[in-house]
């Protein structure tokens, strides 16, 4: 989860995947000539509800607070 993202935004949503390991698994071939650990990917991630690649500052009605879903 993106620590700098305001509440209610994708970066703090339980459906938002921005872990680089999971991203490289979800996007096979990403590591051949690029990386999920690089600046150009930065803190962007995948929305598992809409199957979209997003900036963490986006928002939608399906927001689910990751801090409540995954406390700690």
């Amino acid at each position: 989860m993106s620590e700098g993202t305001p509440a209610g935004r994708c970066g703090r949503c339980a459906h938002f995947v921005d872990d680089p390991r999971e991203l490289e698994r979800a996007l096979p071939g990403l590591g051949i000539l690029s990386s999920a650990w690089g600046s150009t990917r930065g803190d962007q991630g995948l929305c598992t509800v809409h199957d979209l690649f997003l900036q963490p500052v986006m928002s939608c009605p399906r927001f689910a607070d990751a801090a409540i879903r995954n406390p700690g």
């Binding site: 600046s39 690649f53 928002s59």
Partner: protein, 541 residues
């Protein structure tokens, strides 16, 4: 508070920043050794050439301690940084050890006389060996964990900064930017229009494909994918199409450019011939990923020197890569205004601020600039009273010329204006020159010289340059050697991680849209490099 802490953490969580720390650490170590009167050149070595197994064994035994030192340095620094970034390091340590041994084997294979006859250097060989193994065998997870192509190439690019003077970056930057912008915008528009108008693909998909071809390959596709809120499948297809074309272009561009460049020391005379600088600039406009492009220019450099690497870096990294944030910002606005459907209320919304220009900026480039600035400052501080020395009998070797000479300077007439700077030491068997000898001064000295004396004077001119005779061999050369290791590790990774069976899963529409872009990009890059900006790229060394 959260923002501040995450910003602090990012410095330790991305490969870009670690590439900067590692690159600058190498440069600092080389400089400390240089300033203390020593050099890391004995430790930072690469395998030599051989034609028999005895020669191979001799070279291996002689350099084994140095190889162990290079391995230990990379092993420790990469492992520590991978641990801090959150990787599972036990697998990485085993995988990296095997990868390093693989790189060593590739270096030696490339140094074999038979491979030299085939004109196959370590970069292409690493790629070929990797592709064969990666596509015939199932790689274990521990080896996959060490295949960090981007990390190794970024580290290599930071090290490359130490070999590119800041003045060259400042003078070449605008030319590279202008040419790269023409090619990038044309290529992007071609792929985007082909994707949307001819093949009816979603405009956001077209933007992902277009940026992959026009700006910085897979990294560009990802940066733009997030900016325009692209579908996951579009990103996955974009990665596959760009990767396949990038790998194909490595072999195509390496083969074609090596045919077009005349032998070392010979200037292009035919209309179709190009200099190695032009070759590097062309690859810079027509390759899609940094790592792929460096595979081509590093291969060219094995025979023709660093001009191709320098031109490629200026064109690709400075001309194209660093502008990805601008592309992301502009396309995020275009996406919100034109491409997103108002009817889909459930879809995530939001517009990016100007801050995205910095967020998407490839931070490792800062390390490249820092390395260049550090080395340029040191090069500018050459001592004015440096005394160059050359033996009166010996050999002179440059990229274009090699000669053995035996000169006699008894009775040599020194022009009066240089009399206080030129000394012939008959007892010591050497000639000396105080301060850096200019080409005009070399001409003045050579006017009354015979052939052997001219070679000795050429060697003296080289030795009179503090940069060429001190800084370059003692501090910059070890950096170049370690850069070669980082590059070969990277090229081996590209090969090992490229499994065509897994990549060739995309439909024909995105493939053809991208291919039309390639068909425009490659000739346009050639035309601009060899017909419009040719005088600039030809002069690059």
């Amino acid at each position: 508070m959260a923002t501040e802490s995450s910003r602090r953490l990012k410095i330790f969580r991305t490969e870009d920043y670690w590439a900067i720390w590692l690159g600058l650490l190498v440069i600092l170590a080389c400089l400390v050794a240089f300033w203390s009167g020593s050099s890391l050149s004995r430790l930072a070595v690469t395998p030599g050439t051989w034609s028999s197994f005895d020669e191979l064994a001799d070279d291996l035994v002689k350099k084994a301690p140095a190889f162990a030192a290079v391995f230990a340095f990379f092993f420790v620094t990469f492992t520590v940084s991978m641990k801090i970034m959150g990787h599972e390091v036990r697998s990485f340590m085993i995988g990296f050890t095997v990868l390093f041994l693989g790189a060593l084997a590739v270096f030696y294979l490339a140094g074999w006389e038979a491979m030299e006859r085939l004109d196959l250097g370590a970069p292409l060989l690493a790629l070929l060996v990797g592709i064969v193994i990666g596509n015939l065998a199932t790689l274990p997870e521990w080896l996959k964990s060490a295949l960090r192509t981007e990390y190794y190439i970024k580290t290599g690019i930071v090290l490359l900064g130490a070999t590119l003077p800041m003045t060259l970056i400042a003078t070449a930057g605008p030319v590279a930017f202008l040419q790269a912008t023409i090619v990038s915008v044309t290529t992007w528009m071609t792929i985007f229009l082909a994707a949307t108008r001819i093949f009816g693909l979603d405009p956001r998909f077209g933007a992902v494909l277009g940026t992959g071809g026009a700006v910085c390959g897979v990294s560009g596709s990802i940066a733009i994918g997030g900016a325009v809120k692209a579908d996951k499948d579009h990103i996955a297809i974009g990665i596959a199409v760009v990767s396949v074309w990038a790998i194909v272009m490595i072999f195509f561009l390496a083969f074609v450019t090596k045919l077009m460049i005349p032998p070392p020391g010979v200037a292009p005379t035919e209309w179709w011939q190009i200099s190695s600088g032009e070759a590097g600039a062309w690859v810079g406009t027509s390759e899609y990923a940094d790592a792929a492009g460096f595979a081509v220019v590093a291969e060219i450099a094995t025979t023709y020197g660093d001009a191709a690497i320098n031109a490629f870096t200026l064109m690709k990294v400075i001309g194209r890569d660093i502008w990805i944030g601008i592309w992301a910002f502009v396309l995020s606005i275009v996406s919100v205004v034109f491409w997103e459907k108002r009817s889909d209320a459930d879809r995530p919304t939001g517009r990016l601020g100007i801050g995205v220009v910095w967020e998407r900026f490839p931070k490792f480039v800062l390390g490249f600039f820092a390395a260049s600035a550090i080395m340029s400052l040191i090069a500018a501080s050459a001592p004015a009273d440096h005394v160059g020395r050359a033996p009166v009998a010996g050999s002179f070797k440059s990229q274009a010329q090699t000669a053995t000479y035996d000169a006699d300077f008894a009775g040599f007439v020194v022009p009066p204006e240089l009399a206080d700077r030129f000394v012939y030491d008959a007892a010591g068997g050497e000639i000396r020159f105080t301060g850096e000898m200019t080409l005009a001064e070399l001409d003045a000295l050579s006017r009354a010289a015979d052939s052997d004396q001219r070679w000795a004077l050429k060697r003296l001119q080289h030795a009179s340059s503090w940069f060429s005779s001190e800084l370059e061999p003692k501090a910059i050369s070890p950096i170049k050697k370690l850069r070669s290791w980082a590059f070969v590790l990277c090229f081996l990774c590209i090969g090992l991680s490229t499994r065509f069976r897994d990549l060739l899963t995309f439909g024909l529409k995105p493939f053809w849209a991208f291919t039309i872009g390639v068909a425009v990009n490659v000739p346009l890059g050639w035309f601009l490099t060899t017909r419009v900006f040719d005088s600039f790229w030809s002069a690059l060394r």
